[in-house]
């Protein structure tokens, strides 16, 4: 009985992953199609991949997309972390709740509205559209996400540690850098990666604030879609999928490495303690 249940849950898991990954593999499969469209597979070719590497415009757009994602999530993480600290240390409960709600409103408000508001704002103050406007917009919609990722870690933090640090004579900066930041680091990292992915695949906001020769991948693919997406895009998607796969695997091994190191250290300490006794 128990064995059967185990199998069923496995089957379920496999099914879920199949549904999630099937479209991606379908797309990757057709990136090797010599036929030129996704209606029929007529032969294997690398042409679509060479086309990607020859398309300087597309490569520039990919690089721009990553540049915006990296910088905007970095800045948003810094601003958002301090924002979370400010919200956490607001003494009055009502103000704190109000601030938090304001943060949440920004998360649930639709992207198109944020995008349109930015377009109106930028053009109203005479700010040219382009790299800077996209970057600012991405920072803006990433900050609330970071705040939301960091706050729970702050709540988990043991306040008596801060009191202990103060008792031992730590000043504000030392408390922040030696106690608070290390204990909320997982939240900060999570916030950064969340912001990064949000920025990478955002279409609606970006669409409104691009201009003057600057575009991101989402906007470019969307406007190409009208004529039917070419297999070049399939090839590019396949490359990006493999790239993120490598990143995740790399992250997994680093994590694994750290865990075993920690366990080793722990054992070492234990044996030391035993021998010392």
């Amino acid at each position: 009985m128990k064995k059967k249940k185990f199998k069923l849950s496995n089957l379920y898991l496999i099914l879920v992953f199949a549904v999630l990954y099937a479209p991606i593999f379908y797309l990757i499969f057709y990136s090797f199609n010599a036929g030129g469209d996704m209606n029929q597979f007529s032969g294997f070719t690398w042409d679509n991949y060479t086309a990607v590497f020859e398309d300087v415009r597309l490569i520039t757009i990919v690089l721009n997309t990553f540049l915006v994602a990296l910088l905007s999530s970095l800045i948003a993480t810094i601003v958002g972390t301090f924002g979370a600290l400010a919200i956490y240390y607001t003494k009055k409960r009502q103000t704190r709740n109000a601030l938090l709600s304001m943060n949440n409103i920004l998360i649930v408000s639709p992207d198109v509205i944020i995008g349109a508001s930015f377009l109106i704002l930028f053009t109203f103050i005479g700010f040219g559209l382009g790299f800077a406007s996209v970057l600012l917009a991405h920072i803006a919609f990433s900050i609330p996400i970071v705040v939301l990722m960091v706050l729970p870690k702050l709540k988990e933090m043991n306040d008596s540690m801060i009191m202990a640090a103060r008792d031992l004579g730590a000043n504000n900066w030392q408390v922040l850098s030696k106690v608070i930041l290390p204990s909320i680091t997982p939240g900060i990292l999570a916030g950064f990666f969340m912001a990064f992915t949000y920025s990478l695949d955002d279409f609606a906001v970006t669409f409104f604030v691009t201009g003057n020769g600057f575009t991101t991948l989402a906007v470019e693919i969307y406007s190409r879609a009208r004529q039917g997406v070419s297999l070049e895009i399939n090839a590019l998607s396949a490359l990006m999928f493999i790239f993120s796969l490598i990143l995740v695997i790399g992250y997994y091994f680093i994590q694994q490495h750290n865990v075993t190191k920690k366990q080793k250290n722990k054992k070492l300490h234990q044996t030391e303690a035993v021998t010392m006794r």
Partner: protein, 357 residues
């Protein structure tokens, strides 16, 4: 803390690297601010080889940006903050942009090759004497059908869509002007009608089409028709050209009683910075050789009559895409109806869509 600082430094280094490579790429392409033509066009709507050729011939660099709908393009240009030198909107949007004073009046002295254009595509109501726009591509709205399910020539008119044999088998493009327009045309009215009784009659007639409609969709029509999900669809000629490539059994028909003919024209927005480059590009695209090459790549019909002589005969003699003059006479261009009537069209179309469910 140390970990965070390392991470920040790492990100900054990677960003710096990316920034450096982007600027190198731009430099390699020779993009600087004063010799660049900023072209705002539909996605994948020009042969990339032509851009390279233009750059080589004139020394200008092209920064190609894309949009996916007239409305999107309009918003960007109307709000300002952009410096597009050349854009390619469709006719009703051109009319609106002229009305709102968003376009530069063209200096015809600077344009060579106007004579290459077929007169029937010039001097249209949306832009009399082509003071603001130069035709780029044109096309029609029509019916595409699959001869595997439907006898050849069985579909010739809009009325054939109402045939009870086609129950739950017709796909329509999701556009109020298009669908209301075909109903108006089938009743013998203009598709720019502003007559309330005519509009009501058209809406009522559409009601009768409901049982035949399988879906009201957008670009997906292309895929559905190629994969034979449905036997009949209403769509644009350029889309149809691509469908015909994907499935030999498909045919495209322009109903002779009337349909829509649309234009995508070059215009120069008021925000343009490099007028010389814009004129240079218009002239370049008016050269028959280039227009022909572009028409072959994009698949829409070219308004350039000298270019048509360079195109293969089987293409230009294909009445599906270059209809005879008699059909052409009955084709109508959309006019900007103004806010009130666009609202009425939309309401009727919405009602039709709701009845379907």
């Amino acid at each position: 803390m140390k970990r965070l600082i390392t991470l920040v430094l790492l990100i900054l280094m990677v960003s710096g690297g990316i920034y450096f490579s982007v600027s190198q790429l731009n430099k390699a392409q020779g993009i600087t601010s004063d010799n660049t033509l900023s072209l705002y066009n539909w996605g994948d709507y020009i042969d990339p080889a032509l851009i390279t050729k233009f750059e080589k011939e004139t020394g200008y660099r092209v920064s190609y940006e894309t949009f996916d709908s007239n409305e999107a393009m309009y918003t960007k240009i109307e709000q300002g903050g952009t410096t597009y030198d050349l854009a390619v909107p469709s006719e009703y949007m051109i009319q609106r942009m002229i009305k709102e004073d968003l376009l530069v009046k063209l200096d015809h002295e600077k344009i060579a090759g106007m004579a290459n254009l077929d007169e029937q595509f010039l001097n249209k109501a949306f832009d009399p004497e082509n003071q603001y726009s130069i035709p780029y591509f044109w096309g029609t709205l029509g019916i595409i059908y699959n001869d595997k399910f439907i006898a050849e020539d069985a579909i010739q008119h809009w009325d054939d869509l109402w045939n009870p044999d086609l129950k739950n088998d017709v796909m329509l493009i999701d556009g109020a002007r298009e669908i209301m327009g075909l109903s108006l045309n089938s009743l013998g009215h203009s598709l720019n009608s502003k007559d309330q009784t005519e509009l009501e009659a058209a809406a009522e007639k559409l009601d009768g089409l409901t049982p035949n409609v399988k879906a009201i969709v957008a670009d997906e029509i292309k895929m559905y028709m190629i994969q034979e999900e449905s036997s009949v669809a209403v769509t644009f000629s350029g889309e149809a050209a691509e469908m015909l490539d994907g499935n030999d059994r498909l045919h495209y028909v322009i109903p002779s009683e009337g349909s829509n003919v649309w234009f995508d024209n070059f215009v120069i927005p008021k925000t343009a910075e490099n007028l010389d480059a814009a004129y240079a590009f218009i002239n370049f695209m008016l050269e028959p050789e280039n227009a022909a090459q572009n028409a072959e790549y994009v698949g829409y019909s070219t308004p350039n009559k000298v270019a048509m002589e360079l195109l293969p005969d089987e293409l230009t003699e294909d009445e599906q895409f270059y209809p005879d003059s008699k059909t052409m006479e009955n084709l109508e261009v959309y006019e900007d109806l103004g806010r009130k009537y666009i609202g009425i069209y939309n309401d009727f179309f919405l009602e039709f869509k709701m009845h379907r469910n």
